[in-house]
């Protein structure tokens, strides 16, 4: 743990002196020193003699009773997050700021009172993008307020945006960009430039947070001494350092297994839930968490680091005429692995993105590729990127006279896949169950394999193990009160978390009524976990269930049709305060179900379209309408 200019308020010379001194001080010497410094400060600043941490703001307040516009030590951190990344990063950042003596207000955009905006001096926004370039559910109301005429002028606001996204989507980090633009329009000044993060965001997040922190600190220089003084005054500088000076996972200070330090979970069970003759394959995967200390709750997801398909990797290496054994870098630190291993475990080779092509063109002499990237070819480019992978790229735009270790670093790191956990830890201690639908399709003359799902279907057997981490999802949780009724809408694999919900309610003996809507193609072969639901219906853990099998009848029926058939009862449940949970397909299902809910409110509640929309927004605000969609 070394003091640096970047992670402390000292300049280079001070840092060197301290770094020479601190390590050789004995425990008692350290305590004496900190006491001494504290005493010094207390005489210098009479108001700040309290030894408790809260002395910090006190000290600050006292610092400049008369001074003119004084940089505020108050920082507001707002996050908008669907699947929890932005939220995790935001709370990590807050911890770090507090560690540095800032006074932090951390809040989800949905809990934030928009009219407090005027009072804010320093604002940090961490927000992801979902759907086809739309804000996460819990960012929507704030997003709309900010873009409405009601939005206040924000002169005097300093802000910076961290945008989370995925460059394989057309509207990359759109929501982050929107906030960044809008805050400026309203008169805000940038603390520092926005950073757009791709799915492998660790390094860019670390870079952005360092910039933000040093800028903030820079403005604090004047009062820094006091801050640090009082920080040390906490009495245990070692601890103060531990919490503030060690950046792990970009921002988060995590112990034990985590996204960046995944746990190798053993496969206990892996079976196909679809009966013979089904067009689908859906894997029920049971993993052991024994000895990992990993905790999760129903509604959380599990992250899995998959391995690329060996065939694809080998064909790729062959096509490029590379040597599978050649060592190639696997991170910015410059660690190396044999090419084949790196392509199997480290790099993404199944998705093409604009940024990737823009880099690839630099190591290629291919005219066609250059043209494709020239302005005016956006349409073609978008079309080309769709459903193609690295093998297509290198074949379509040969020749390549680039070595593996020059080419491979252009690739994104292979992102973990998230899976809604289908089990309750209360019902299955030390286990986690997943419901994984195999992705296989044919495109551009080749069979394509979903990386994680096909690995699960074909190359993951009981006894094998796979790298996983818990991905908490605070935005998809059972109601705090077990007596509150819940309506669960989860066709296809969307039903997974509801198996966890019902296991949980079964274990805890919750009294609240439960209603599940499920659907898939065929009753006989695709009724996922059928005997589980049947048992819960018998036990009363599940109050009622409605199913829609789209391919059993001449005209297709989906869950939203069943909901509308039952609109009256469903409205009664809503009036009784039921929570609504939607999980599964984001492209169509989530929209159709949302529309159905609106229609039910109009039909049964006599509301107009706007009113119904507002009602649903309100429900979302109150967490009575939660979605886990993908």
């Amino acid at each position: 743990m070394q003091l640096q200019v970047t992670n402390s308020p000292f300049n280079q010379e001070q840092v060197e002196l301290l770094n020479r001194l601190l390590p050789v001080l004995s425990g008692s010497q350290q305590i004496w020193l900190s006491g001494y410094l504290a005493a010094l400060n207390s005489t210098a600043l009479p108001a700040a003699n309290s030894p408790i941490p809260h002395a910090v703001p006190a000290a600050v307040a006292a610092l400049s009773p008369s001074s003119q516009p004084e940089p505020s030590r108050e920082v507001t951190v707002l996050f908008g997050s669907q699947t929890g990344n932005a939220q995790r990063l935001a709370s990590g950042l807050s911890k770090k700021l507090e560690g540095l003596g800032f006074q932090v207000i951390l809040s989800s955009m949905s809990d934030f009172k928009p009219n407090n905006l005027k009072k804010i001096r320093n604002l940090l926004v961490l927000v992801s993008t979902h759907g086809e370039g739309v804000p996460p559910d819990n960012a929507l109301p704030f997003y709309e307020f900010l873009n409405s005429r009601k939005a206040p002028r924000l002169e005097g606001l300093q802000f910076s945006v961290l945008a989370l996204g995925d460059s394989s989507y057309e509207f990359f980090c759109q929501t982050g960009k929107d906030f960044d633009r809008r805050l400026e329009e309203l008169g805000g000044k940038r603390l520092c430039q926005r950073t757009d993060c791709d799915v492998d965001y660790d390094e860019s997040v670390a870079e952005w947070s360092e910039r933000v922190l040093s800028t903030l600190r820079g403005m604090m220089e004047v009062s820094a001494a006091a801050a640090v003084g009082s920080t040390l005054a906490i009495g245990n500088p070692i601890e103060a350092q531990a919490s503030s000076l060690v950046p792990v996972d970009g921002l988060l200070v995590e112990e034990g297994y985590s996204r960046t330090n995944p746990f190798k979970a053993e496969v206990l069970e892996n079976l196909n839930l679809n009966g013979r003759g089904s067009d689908r394959e859906t894997r029920h995967l049971e993993l052991s968490l024994e000895g990992s200390n990993l905790q999760y709750e129903p509604g959380d997801s599990l992250g899995i680091y998959p391995q690329n398909h060996p065939e694809l990797v080998d064909t790729l290496i062959e096509t490029m005429g590379w040597n599978p054994e050649d060592p190639v870098p696997v991170n910015k630190k410059g660690d190396k692995l044999p090419l084949r291993e790196a392509l199997l475990d480290t790099y993404e080779i199944t998705v093409l993105t604009k940024p990737l092509l823009e880099q690839a063109v630099r190591v290629s002499s291919n005219k066609a590729l250059r043209e494709l990237l020239e302005p005016g070819h956006e349409q073609e480019l978008r079309a080309y990127l769709k459903e193609r992978d690295l093998l297509d790229l290198v074949k379509d735009f040969s020749p390549w006279e680039v070595s593996a270790d020059n080419f491979v670093p252009l690739l994104r790191r292979i992102p973990a896949r998230l899976y809604s956990i289908a089990s309750s830890p209360k019902a299955n201690p030390d286990e986690v169950h997943l419901t994984i639908r195999t992705v296989r399709y044919h495109a551009h003359g080749r069979d394509r394999y979903g990386v994680a799902s096909v690995q699960t279907a074909e190359r993951l057997h009981p006894g094998d193990s796979i790298s996983v981490y818990i991905h908490p999802n605070p935005n998809f949780k059972l109601p705090p009160d077990p007596n509150i009724p819940i309506i669960m809408i989860g066709p296809g694999t969307g039903v997974a978390p509801f198996r966890a919900f019902l296991e949980e309610r079964g274990e805890t003996g919750a009294e609240g009524k439960t209603w599940l809507f499920f659907g898939d193609q065929h009753f006989v072969t695709d009724f996922l976990y059928q005997i589980n639901w049947q048992r819960w219906l018998k036990d009363g853990v599940l109050t009622r269930m409605d199913v829609a099998f789209s391919r059993d009848t001449d005209k297709k029926v989906y869950v939203q049709h069943r909901m509308l058939e039952k609109s009256q009862e469903l409205f009664q449940w809503l009036k009784a305060g039921a929570y609504v949970y939607v999980c599964g397909d984001e492209k169509h299902m989530a929209h159709d179900v949302h529309a159905a809910l609106g229609l039910i409110l109009e039909r049964e509640g006599g509301m107009g379209p706007e009113e119904a929309g507002a009602y649903l927004a309100e429900m979302q605000q109150q967490k009575r309408y939660q979605r886990d969609i993908y």
């Binding site: 196909n272 009966g275 006989v524 049947q534 219906l537 199913v547």
Partner: protein, 573 residues
């Protein structure tokens, strides 16, 4: 005579009796069960009633364990049995059955040992549609199963056409007279408006059966000598047509036959019906009705295993029955007329009827009609049905007759049959042509071993032995069932196998070639190996020592290999 549906002497009625009584004439909660969408099954009680409507809930037993592991319920499905007295249907009706089989069932039709159709693998939600289509083509599934009179069998007799048509009329009228009257069938399947009725109105509802119907299934079959294809002695009520110079005189009446038994329970046994007299054709409806009513009143309603008519009679003696019957009839039966049976098999190939029309008897192995790569049985029959102007006749041996073919159509049908690999079986061994196996696995819930799916393999191996012994053209009645219920009438096989456990069978020998004598247990619980080892020496010996025209069943008795069975009562001795 008592109208009390439950005989005074009997112990408390079995659960099934309560279900029937509660059901309000076979309604129960079937309608609700059919609308419940979370399971493909129906409740056990409703399944009991379902049988009366001609259907059984089953599940694909091949998939049971696999699906349980997959967290899926058993592959519930329904077997639908379609009744047509004497097994005669029109080409239009055939096409409807063919359509339902392909739309809702498992792409196959099963011709049964009682001249009915069975469809397998129909899902709950397709039951109403299926039954509606069957009803619209003037066929029915009502009373194809259940504790009522079942499909009335009748020799399809190709060669004495006018005797046949007359006998057939009677089969049809008996069938009509004894079908249930409840409106439940219309209400549940055909959306007929609800007819409110209470148990008190019982007599109007079911003048013959009453509110609890019969203690057990009841079966009637009519034979036209010299053919005993319907195994007339296996029927609860067997009728033997007596005719002189092509004119029907009336029927000899035989009562108390049945095949079913339970392994290890000697109180259950197959039995042959006994001839008790003769009545004129016009009196036959009356005789049938009174016989059914006697069984209704005296049959055992507490122990279903003991509830068949054969036990009702054997417990009280045949004399008791004759008196009870004549008392209820109010007149006496005449003395039985002489008759003679040659065999109980089918005559394959083309024959010309006395009406100048043609009849083609096709060999359908185990009654299973479906397309296979080598022969397109189902398609072929569909094509024939499209142009055929006569009728289709299901035989009691699971075969099919294309009947009343005009001279003009004969060549065309012959051609179609050839194109699609339909066969009169004449190129098969006589043994195979004389074989029957029940359905058993995977659909039959009671099967203990394979039958339909395995029998052809075993037959093939026995054929090799026969060829070695130069007996390829020797007709030997050989039958197999997957359990002792006896659906392929195994107790009447000269050689028979009854399933005991997967791959294991009891072997029986010595039945009469014309279905006039029961066989007897020869070896217990043996597998293929042992079956063949046991048969080989016997067959060679038969080839050398048989007398002129001596059938295998008679030979094994004369040779002292097995004892002759005189009555079901000494079947287990």
């Amino acid at each position: 005579m008592t109208q009390n549906p439950i005989p005074p002497q009997s112990a408390p009625p079995s659960e099934v009796e309560h279900i029937k009584r509660r059901s309000n004439y076979l309604r129960g909660t079937l309608t609700e069960s059919l609308e419940e969408l979370i399971s493909g099954s129906i409740s056990e009680d409703d399944n009991r009633l379902m049988k009366f409507h001609g259907s059984y809930m089953q599940d694909d037993r091949d998939l049971r364990n696999e699906r349980h592991r997959q967290k899926l319920e058993p592959a519930y499905q329904f077997m639908l049995r379609v009744r047509a007295a004497g097994g005669i249907v029109t080409p239009e009706q055939w096409l409807v059955m063919d359509g339902i089989a392909r739309k809702y069932a498992n792409d196959s039709i099963r011709l049964t040992t009682r001249q009915s159709f069975q469809l397998h693998g129909i899902l709950k939600w397709n039951m109403k549609k299926s039954i509606r289509e069957i009803h619209d083509t003037l066929l029915t599934t009502l009373a194809a199963c259940g504790d009522v009179n079942r499909n009335v069998m009748c020799n399809p007799n190709p060669y004495q056409s006018e005797v046949h048509s007359e006998v057939y009329q009677w089969a049809d009228r008996i069938s009509e007279h004894l079908s249930p009257r409840t409106a439940a069938y219309h209400e549940i399947w055909l959306d007929g408006e609800k007819v409110l009725d209470s148990q008190e109105q019982g007599k109007e509802q079911e003048p013959i059966y009453g509110p609890v119907y019969l203690p057990r299934k009841f079966k009637i079959g009519i034979a036209v000598p010299p053919s005993n294809d319907v195994d007339v002695y296996s029927q609860d009520l067997g009728l033997i047509a007596i005719y002189e110079a092509g004119r029907l005189q009336g029927f000899n009446i035989a009562v108390g036959g049945g095949m079913g038994m339970t392994h290890g329970d000697p109180k259950t046994y197959p039995q042959l019906a006994r001839v008790i007299g003769f009545c004129s054709a016009e009196q036959i409806i009356d005789v049938a009705e009174k016989t059914v009513m006697i069984q209704r009143d005296y049959g055992d309603r507490s122990v279903r295993k003991h509830a068949r008519f054969k036990y009702t009679i054997d417990d009280r003696g045949i004399e008791w029955f004759i008196n009870e019957l004549q008392e209820r009839l109010g007149w006496k039966l005449e003395e039985a007329r002489p008759y003679h049976f040659d065999d109980n098999g089918d005559r394959y190939g083309w024959v010309k009827g006395t009406n100048g029309k043609w009849y083609l008897t096709l060999f359908i192995q185990n009654g299973r009609i479906k397309d296979e790569d080598n022969n397109q049985l189902m398609t072929g029959l569909r094509e024939i049905a499209k142009i055929h102007t006569g009728d289709f006749r299901l035989t009691a041996n699971q075969n099919l007759i294309i009947g009343n073919v005009t001279n003009q159509k004969k060549a065309k049908i012959e051609q179609l049959a050839k194109n699609y690999g339909l066969t009169d079986g004449l190129h098969h061994s006589a043994l195979k042509r004389s074989s029957m196996a029940c359905v058993a696995l995977p659909t039959c819930g009671l099967a203990m071993a394979e039958a339909e799916r395995y029998f052809p393999t075993l037959l093939g191996k026995i054929e090799t032995i026969l060829e070695g012994a130069a007996l390829r053209e020797e007709e030997i009645i050989i039958r197999m069932t997957g359990c002792p219920n006896g659906c392929a009438r195994p107790a009447l096989g000269e050689i028979a196998f009854i399933g005991k456990a997967p791959g294991k069978y009891n072997m029986y020998l010595g039945a009469g070639f014309a279905g006039e004598r029961l066989n007897k247990l020869y070896r217990e619980n043996i597998g293929e190996e042992e079956i063949l080892e046991t048969l080989r020496p016997m067959i060679y010996r038969y080839a050398q020592e048989r007398l002129a025209g001596e059938h295998f069943g008679d030979f094994v008795i004369r040779a002292g290999i097995i004892k002759a069975v005189q009555s079901g009562l000494d079947f287990h001795e």
